[in-house]
Assembly symmetry: D4
Homo-oligomer: 252 residues x 8
């Protein structure tokens, strides 16, 4: 952005751009306003990755409209999160959509070849954490990462966790997805030597308080190198894991 | 108590006890009222163990008074919990007191020989959990249990936990004392085959919320066989562990 | 486990086992991975009791699949908790299932003869606490315990509680199930001389906060010998009660 | 007040009072403004009882000033709550003050003869609840009630509670003061046939959360006839108990 | 109860009652156990009022069964709270039931003539608080009280509150029912000279937190003479109001 | 009101009004009691604006009844908030209603010409905040304000926020509607030089806690000049904005 | 700012400013970095009012340093909030400071003549709310407002509130400062016809939860036209009141 | 660790190691037990970085003892966090300690040359956040990172934030430290293209709730690429930032 600013100012000085045009351009909106949303049109360029639409609370029509606006503007790939099967079916009517049901993710475009530095390990405490884990995993795959899955490896059967020791030691980034008491994040964090992203889930009942127990547990992890995202935020974990996994890559 | 009731009623029938005396006796107070407290005088008989005084919020004078009343009534041993060093010094002036500073426990009388079925293992996540752990351990010892201590074995260095595998497998009851995220309870609970009593501690800062994070973590433990007592309640854990450890013993 | 390790190492030394085989075996998974779950295959051996499946959040198909894998592996009895009537009906189509509707528990196999040291008393504050109480009671029965039920004995009519004085004094372990203010745990805890497991329930409204009032009440019980499990966690209480009730038994 | 209004209007009609005077009088302040406080000057008349000053957060000078203003205006008796020993000493320098240290109450004037309908029973769960209980008891005494005290009768030793059965059955109003799990309110509420005012106290630690556990427990009491005041609000309970205990009395 | 005890003991002494019979009687259950509930059979005698069944969480069949057991035992009137219209319709099929739809109360038997000392005023902040207010009002009426209703008199239009000044000044007991910020309790409490029972309701949204805002507001009321019951607990308020309103009455 | 009081008193003095009539008038109800509600009949006069009915928790019949009573009393315009489409359809059957579906507002009467001092800017963080924003916007329009909308300008794409810099600098009052972390309020508050009303919304999931995260964020805004209304309270924000926007206007 | 941008661009075009200078200026820091703080140097110009320093958590030296930097840069008046008496004394040693002890505010420079549109009324529920109220009042005075104080007018003595009816009706903006249940905001909000800013205070105990009860009460106020600032945030209320009170003024 | 295991097994096979020795070694403790702590002795080897001691809750003597044990075992550098000035002075008596007072960190050994991939930017919202920020910054420096500091750049003066645009765009990892509403994390997260670690601080008052407001705000950040650590956990952020900043480095 600073370089763009400088270039514009040079054009003003050189008379190649009027003062009014420059003033307008500086305030110019790099997005299209389609009424119910402002579609961001050059984020792709900025990040070398696909665009993301948060499907919750949007109608199928709105989602299809946003996707169309993006495609019209030349955006290659679009990732739609929190997309229910019903909406996916409706969007598919007008859009070429690949749908991942467990992850509740719709993909417009193609899934890229992995180009990250290493693997992203996605581990879950139990079977019920799978939707959140898949949201993280598919997100990471869509952003160009090789993903290894280790599901249902919770600490109540610690031998299950240890069976994945090699995956843990070999990963470049680890996403730990767990509800209930969320202890898996501390165990993995104590064994791993790479960044660990902890995702509390709303799995559990009673004093799990919809994920609060796991959230607090993860925030207080005695293991260093662990950070936390919002309850059930698989997308955020996958996005951040990808960003970390592409560090050191040219153009990352 | 039912047998006492029956005996009294027989005495009434036989004329050995007046109606008024019986009515009074049934309502009779098995404790001495010394103004600021009602000193329980036959709990010892009921439980074959020492009497307990909760020292917090009582003055040294009150504590000494309660102990004197108990001793006068023939109570053998007295355990005083949450006894600060200052109060311990003051109580010692008039009472023959053995003081355990880390545990903040004062003992009047002698520590009995262990007569439980097995060992009670007390494990802590970190060094800061020691006061609560010692409260549990000394309580259990005072109630006739052999105690094994495994401190600072938190999950951030999982090898530390595993170094105590034999202690865990060999214990008859386990007390897990941990603050922060309290994950140790789940790990130990997943490995142990005996009852596990989890004690959350107020160790930690920020989102530990004075022990709430550990408390919730322990309540949501995915390991079966784990139950929880109040934050920092070392005494309660030691008392319950002793009760369990004496099951199957004659007179337990 | 230590003994298994030693035996393997001896086999390596004696040439009866290759280094690679031993390294693999140490990391070997004592469970079958059937995609959506890792079915634990020798827990039965470890605990001399039936295997448990948490039915919530699993489809009837998944449950049936897990049960089939267990049975194929020679697991005798399976306990399925949080099993709705609809799922029970579906699972029954392919599995020989005994269903306890109030407890929401399905049992594959037979209910064993009681082999615990004494009786497990399950008491509730009110009628609405029955589903959680039955989950605890059926679990304990499935794990080989004689269970005595005392329902609707809440403290608002203290004579109802006292009518069960003999049950309370005679039990080996007591499970107290109560919602609202959960005072029953303190009353029973004050009368009993055996371990008391308190189960707060989500019964109540307004400031009951889905079981939080009862949970806090129980955690702060002024009676010693009381510990607490998660809100509505009847299974956990039944499991722990069984473990305690089998202490002192050979092979427990 | 309606009668005063009518009288004033009649005076206006009869010319005995000017319009301006009446308009002013209707808005007139029945209190003296002494800068830092508005001293209420005819509450005594309204309620036939002593005036109350909340001492917390006021300096000894302010308290003395308020008392002086009241006495100057002819107010007979003044009750000062939450008065620390230091402030009491300072106020005593200029005011004839009777100080109740445990209750932290200062009284200017005399304690009246009891003129209520029956007795007010003040019961506490433990010794540490005494300051709040005394605040309630002294308040009730100052407002003309006969008070019966039953302290340290908590439910962990249920026989202690029952030893006061006659007091409970004979009281006209009962104030139950308890911290920790506050179960005493439900037990007493289940036995009593008169109104029960429950006062949660901040006694306890850990998950007592400064009185929240007791507060929630009391609000959810399964016993009918129980209502609750703020944590540690002994004054409020004593005041309300007095109001109830004077019902049916002429002039109450 | 003490008198009953004495009489029984006299019978034992006189040989009119065997020891076993007496021992049994003392522990005798003054209720009928009908499986899913313990029906209290002499509460009527104890309190000179109708019996109460909490309808929530009970099936129509269970409710009808409990009512039948009561009627068979000679209980005159029964009050069923939290009774949905559907259940009321079902219960009506087998029971002669009078149903108050807004109050969600079913009455078996007749509504008694008022025999309290004065009137019970039930005031609400808004229209939405009516179901809870009616639960309180009908309860009080069923227990023999004359009830005055003042609905929708919230403080946002303070003139609406003042329009009921006479009702407030003339009541013997006041029940204030309010959600949102619950300020009505303080206003009425500041004007009234009789006991005020505050009932927070779950009316409101956002930071009303299901009645918590009103609950806290009422607990912290700066007006003396106000006590609080659980959120939405209209029955509890009506019951307590009746108890207070009958004080001083012979047999109350 | 003071002037009315004075005038009445003068009439009393002059004999133009009887004492009884004046006493009655002073207590007179400036509203009509239609059973389920007290319809305020001269608020319009007081505020020169339309009357408001809160539709939530009222039946369509009740709403229609209230509107009819208002119209009969000469109230010009009525604003009905939280009106679901179903209720709107039902009310429309008997009332001439203009319905704003996104805002969930029904309007009886006409929308007035803007007569405020400047514009009211309504900005939202995301698309999902639109219903609350529209409730604010339509309310403000109904009360005579020119409204500028800037939706989906959240801080994750800060250039979107800045694209509305002119709107922000030019507004007379700003309403910021945001869920999730609510940071938009601080950003706008840091740029604006007019009063900013922040409306947290319940948009978000997990640790958004139904709007609590946004609420706390807004209350702690480091920007001066920001105040907050209840979660999702678009009406309150629109009403307050209108009040501020009419300051300095004659008759405001 | 837009006009500045345009002017700079014109200078670039005209050669009066180099491209580098313009690019730098656009990013230029309108503040001085003195190490521990970034002192804002042209806020005065932007808002025609004094600069504000938040004294909490800053040493007296840091405060004096910031003030000196401001004065050196030509800033006229400085307002220092949350300034303890000790720090005020230390700052006074090097700075010409006027200190308001109750408000904990220090003023460098002179207090301006009021130039707002009307008066700002500051009302408090009790005496203990005075520090927060004075922070609001002195802030408003320093920003050019005439302030009317009405302290200790809480609703428990509603006649005290009404004694200030004229102040309420005559104010241009009202600040209501109240702790405990915070009902004053609703009462005043129901009577006033101007914007009301509610400031919850941390005054109270027990379930006041440090101001939470008042905060929730105010957020849920049933009176329209009320908005809320943070607990104890007197400065924020005074600042916002001033902003509103200067609306319609030239240069406001 | 797998490779060590394999090597040991080979030695057993080859007779170079006895079975007992191997079994022992596998369970061997890679730490020294010095009574109050288990000092980890080869973490340095594992992570190529200095060892860390958490100073809070440890006495100066304990800290000195742990450091001595580490140094004796050949550990090069030790980082002591949460070290108060008093303890630092005491530890210095026996240990060669470099003390960073604002960061509350003591360093034994030397600060290494930066060897990370890029710079770590540490930004704070205000001056009061500096202690936490310095804990993060010094930690990162001690672990071999070049740190850029941008303090007091909070969003209330958004131009302050933008003045650091180049730092934000140029950083390899960003740590955002903010209290109050924590909005800085979202702003920076929206501008940055590298991982952002958000650290909520306990700075603030009232509804900041000791950092909860900032924590929730950061967890709900609408900006992708942001993760969160515990309140005030500067060390954790610095450690994680270093780990990320060394990714792609040989031996990282």
């Amino acid at each position: 952005m600073p370089s763009e600013l400088r270039r514009m100012l040079q054009q003003v000085r050189d008379g190649a751009m009027s003062v009014d045009a420059a003033a307008a351009a500086i305030k110019a909106k790099p997005f299209e306003d389609i009424g119910y949303a402002k579609v961001d049109l050059h984020r792709n360029a900025r990040q070398g990755a696909s665009e993301v639409v948060y499907g919750e609370g949007k109608t199928a029509e709105q989602i299809a409209g946003i996707v169309a606006a993006m495609r019209d503007a030349g955006q290659g790939d679009v990732l739609i999160t929190r997309l229910s099967p019903e909406k996916a079916r409706l969007v598919s009517a007008t859009t070429d959509l690949q749908y991942f049901e467990v992850a509740r993710i719709g993909v417009v475009g193609s899934i890229p070849e992995p180009d990250g530095c290493g693997t992203v390990l996605v581990a879950t405490g139990g079977t019920s954490d799978m939707p959140v884990a898949e949201e993280a995993a598919v997100t990471a795959e869509m952003l160009g990462n090789e993903v290894v899955r280790a599901y249902d490896v919770g600490v109540a059967g610690i031998h299950r966790t240890f069976a994945h020791m090699d995956d843990i030691m070999g990963a470049n980034v680890i996403i730990v997805v767990a509800g209930m008491e969320g202890a898996l994040a501390s165990i993995v964090g104590g064994m791993a030597e790479c960044p660990v992203i902890a995702v509390p889930t709303s799995v559990g009942y009673g004093a799990a308080f919809g994920g609060v127990a796991a959230l607090l547990s993860m925030l207080n992890s005695c293991a260093s190198g662990v950070s936390v995202v919002n309850i059930d935020n698989g997308f955020g974990a996958g996005f951040l894991a990808s960003r970390i996994n592409h560090m050191g890559k040219v153009g990352a």
